[in-house]
């Protein structure tokens, strides 16, 4: 069941109506039922995995909570009778126990993810090595299922258990509440990766029907569908035509494909998240924002603060910081400063943790070298821009361009181009081909090849291009408004009662008419045979 299936919209309508008509104390339990039904429809065999993750996390969180209580009791009982050292020692003992339990939980759950997602990738690499050493032996691939949303819910759940371990989150005593947090259906497909502290309150609260909240949610859903169905699914045709036929589409078209993909991915991903957040909002539930107009970023670091935010902060909080500030790393930091000198030595440890983060970010996106190289390319760009920082400072000290509008635009365009170029790794078939196409983009560039006829050969009509251009302008205008003046929905709702209906109605008709969905788009042409 995808967001764009009729059955999903039907499912939503039923869930929505029941959510507000059932007795209030049934609200969140009903959401749990709905989420499991959703998962069951997708595939009954997936249920065992999400249930295993939920149960194991629940049990470990209780254990961690119990250890915490034991510690508190002990301290209370022995208050005034023990020295600071004794207390410290006791605490360290408890912490070690907690750490063991946390590791068990992480190993078990990341293990499920690793086995299902990366086994065949590992086998492929081993086979490659075997071949390289002229061995005739080859391992056969396993037939594994990859449960829907497993990367998202595993990370969300692991974030929770680490929070409990750290004491920044309390353990949820009700297993069904935890189950709902893990499986909440709107965010199962593509995130965001929520934090328990952010989501829990509004997820389990009682919500009364509030027309304004519901209509804001509906607006958000509709805007998401507009981006996804009208824009992303339409331009996808052209993107696929280019990236699946690298022999046909060379030179300038590599660049065209790169930019089209940037537009497609933006519309698809932010649209999907809009739908997710909108659905939650219609039920009064607040899901963390995952994007903040990323294409207005002026550098790559800012971009990663505005694109797929919940993933970025997850990696920062649960991988980057723990690695960076663990004792061995601090020791290494000292060593590095003594060896390489203050300036460079200071950065080496940071880069090391950063490398780990981007490697895992890459492989989290998909089990292939394409994604790993994509992740590492991000790392390389960030490292280079970090190293060039002094140069930038000098440049800005000499030339006063920083607050100038044209310079801002330049920075934005530069960032978009850079990010789009890196993203070519998740387009082309494999890593060598991607590198080849980078070169090809320049060596085979021929402005005459970029003619109307060639563009029409990508599977889009002139009308489609015009429509996409208008949509681009609409999305851009809305983004500028949001950037400068805040919520566009606030503006619509403040401007007279009729407008909110008119805008909604028009947008809805646009989605229905111009959406690239249904059989008319699957089948390229109505068959005009005489019979």
């Amino acid at each position: 069941m995808l967001f764009t299936d009729y059955s999903f919209i039907g499912f939503l309508a039923v869930v929505f109506i029941l959510y507000y008509t059932l007795p209030k104390k049934c609200q969140w339990p009903f959401l749990l039922v709905a989420s499991y039904v959703f998962y069951f429809i997708a595939s009954p065999s997936y249920l065992i995995f999400i249930a295993a993750t939920t149960v194991s996390t629940y049990l470990v969180s209780l254990k961690l909570d119990k250890l915490e209580t034991i510690q508190k009791e002990w301290i209370r009982e022995h208050k005034g009778q023990i020295s600071r050292e004794e207390k410290k020692e006791y605490k360290a003992g408890i912490k070690a126990k907690k750490w063991k339990w946390l590791l068990v939980c992480l190993f078990f759950n990341l293990g499920i993810l690793a086995v299902l997602k990366y086994t065949n990738f590992t086998i492929a690499n081993i086979n490659g090595l075997l071949q390289a050493f002229h061995s005739d032996r080859q391992l056969s691939f396993l037939n594994l299922v990859l449960p829907m949303g497993i990367s998202f819910y595993t990370f969300q759940t692991m974030g929770y258990i680490i929070d409990v371990y750290r004491g920044t989150s309390t353990a949820e005593k009700n297993p069904f509440k935890l189950a709902l947090f893990v499986s909440f259906f709107p965010q199962l497909v593509q995130g965001p990766i929520s934090r328990f502290n952010d989501l829990a309150k509004s997820l389990f609260e009682v919500h009364y029907f509030d027309p304004k909240v519901v209509s804001y949610g509906l607006y958000r859903i509709l805007w998401g569908y507009f981006k996804k169905v009208v824009v992303a699914d339409r331009i996808l045709t052209a993107v696929n035509a280019i990236i699946q036929n690298p022999d046909t589409y060379q030179g300038g078209f590599v660049f065209v494909g790169m930019m089209f993909y940037a537009f497609e991915l933006y519309a698809d991903f932010t649209g999907g998240i809009d739908i997710t957040i909108g659905i939650a909002q219609t039920m009064g539930i607040t899901v963390t924002e995952n994007f903040r107009r990323p294409y207005f970023s002026k550098n790559i670091k800012e971009y990663w603060n505005r694109w797929h935010i919940t993933m970025g902060t997850w990696f920062t909080d649960y991988i980057f910081y723990p690695i960076s500030v663990c004792k061995p790393m601090l020791k290494f930091s000292k060593f590095s400063r003594n060896t390489f000198g203050e300036k460079i030595g200071k950065r080496v440890p940071v880069y090391l943790s950063s490398f780990v983060v981007w490697f895992t970010t890459g492989i989290w996106h998909g089990a292939s070298w394409n994604f790993i190289v994509w992740g590492l390319m991000n790392f390389v760009v960030i490292m280079i821009s970090e190293e060039l920082e002094p140069l930038y400072r000098k440049f800005h000290a000499r030339f006063d361009v920083k607050g100038k509008a044209w310079y801002g635009v330049f920075e934005i365009v530069r960032t978009i181009l850079l990010m789009s170029a890196i993203r070519m790794f998740d387009c082309y078939r494999d890593v060598p081909l991607t590198f080849k196409m980078y070169g090809n983009m320049f060596t085979h560039f021929d402005i005459r090849a970029l003619n109307a006829e060639a563009f029409l050969g990508l599977g889009l009509s002139g009308a489609d291009y015009l429509l996409l251009f208008i949509c681009l302008l609409v999305i851009l205008s809305v983004s500028i408004l949001q950037e400068r003046r805040g919520s566009v929905r606030d503006m619509i709702f403040a401007s007279g009662a009729a407008w909110k209906y008119v805008v909604f109605g028009v947008l809805m008709l646009i989605v229905i008419v111009f959406g690239a969905y249904g059989i008319g788009y699957d089948q390229s042409q109505f068959i005009y045979n005489q019979f």
Binding site: Y501, F504, I519
Partner: protein, 354 residues
């Protein structure tokens, strides 16, 4: 407070009504009109414009709507008839179109052309659409959709055709606006007229099939059609039109012959009777033997009309003033179209606008 809620509800109601109207208009605009191109698509809908009843109803694919001429049947025998046919109309679609027609009238004779029996599965979305979209909403239509859908199709796309045809937004033409609410007549009681001639010049040898048994789904709907006729006191006649292609195997013919015998139905294979009817495949077909042209259709209709008058208690409506008036108009349209087609043929050497 109460006032506010009432106001809100009213606004919402107005919004929903306006949206429904807008969607209805857009749907009317987006749906293919089948006026200048592939008129076959407009024929199923045209039936509902009929003001007079029919004693004979044809159901089937192109082998009925291009080969039998109801106007000739009326002119020569006073028989009132209508063809509920569409392109590649499958057996279950014929069944449901018959069921649909029975909501409006009960004919004395139903004629089913058996070529479609060769298909046991839904074939193509495009032909499904031409057979079903024209039907008025009814349980028969829902039945037809359920029986006809290919795997990638969806019931909602039929109930709300805008979900299917919205992709036509970039192909809209003046025709789509002109025929939004009213369409021109394209057929003569379901008959699609062509006057041009293209002689038969041979067909590829028919392939050998591994299994000649007619499919169970096709047979099931033939049974249902027969039972429906029995329930309504209608005589069912099975025919195989004298079209030479697609190939109608002797093995299939035998099965239909046996079926007709078992249930006491008449079955005629006019392909075998072509010489007796007087069909000349050099002059009586417009596409080298796939379909008859006007000359062929009139010959077949005269032959068939004679059989109908001899065997069934049909009324001669030429004496009925109400019918005579309606049919005078139909005959005028028939003659005009024939003249127009001949004129086009003379001018351009081919038929362009029909």
């Amino acid at each position: 407070m109460k006032n506010k809620i009432a106001k809100r509800a009213a606004a919402l109601a107005v919004f929903i009504i306006v949206m429904l109207i807008a969607l209805y208009l857009l749907q009317k605009l987006m749906m293919p009109k089948y006026m200048s191109d592939i008129p076959e698509g407009a024929m199923v809908e045209e039936y509902y414009q009929e003001t007079t009843d029919h004693e004979v109803l044809f159901v089937g694919d192109c082998e009925v709507y291009e080969n039998f001429s109801p106007i000739t049947l009326y002119e020569d025998y006073g028989i009132t008839s209508y063809i509920r046919g569409s392109a590649q109309q499958l057996t279950w679609q014929s069944y449901y179109l018959l069921e649909d027609a029975l909501r409006y009238e009960t004919p004395k004779v139903v004629v089913f052309n058996v070529l479609a029996m060769k298909y046991n599965e839904p074939q193509s979305e495009a032909y499904n659409r031409m057979s079903i979209d024209g039907m008025k909403m009814s349980s028969s239509k829902i039945g037809a959709i359920q029986a006809s859908m290919t795997e990638e199709e969806h019931m909602l796309d039929y109930i709300f055709p805008i979900l299917r045809y919205h992709s036509r937004w970039s192909d809209l033409s003046a025709e789509d606006v002109k025929y939004m609410f009213h369409k021109d007549k394209v057929s003569h009681n379901g008959y699609y007229m062509r006057v041009d001639v293209r002689p038969v010049d041979g067909f590829p040898e028919p392939e050998k099939l591994s299994d000649y048994t007619l499919g169970d789904k096709a047979m099931e709907y033939l049974d249902k059609m027969r039972e429906l006729c029995e329930e309504n006191g209608i005589e069912l006649v099975l025919v195989k039109s004298p079209s030479l292609y697609p190939y109608w195997y002797d093995e299939w013919d035998e099965q239909i012959t046996d079926y007709a015998q078992e249930y006491g139905l008449d079955y005629f294979n006019y392909e075998k009777l072509a010489p007796e009817i007087g069909i000349d495949y050099n002059t009586d077909t417009y596409d080298a033997g796939l379909h008859l042209n006007l000359s062929g259709a009139e010959k077949l209709s005269r032959y068939f009309g004679e059989y109908l008058t001899e065997n069934y208690d049909l009324t001669d409506y030429r004496d009925d003033p109400e019918y005579a008036e309606v049919y005078a108009e139909k005959i005028r349209f028939y003659d005009e179209m024939r003249e127009a087609q001949y004129k086009e043929l003379e001018e351009y050497g081919e038929i362009i606008s029909f």
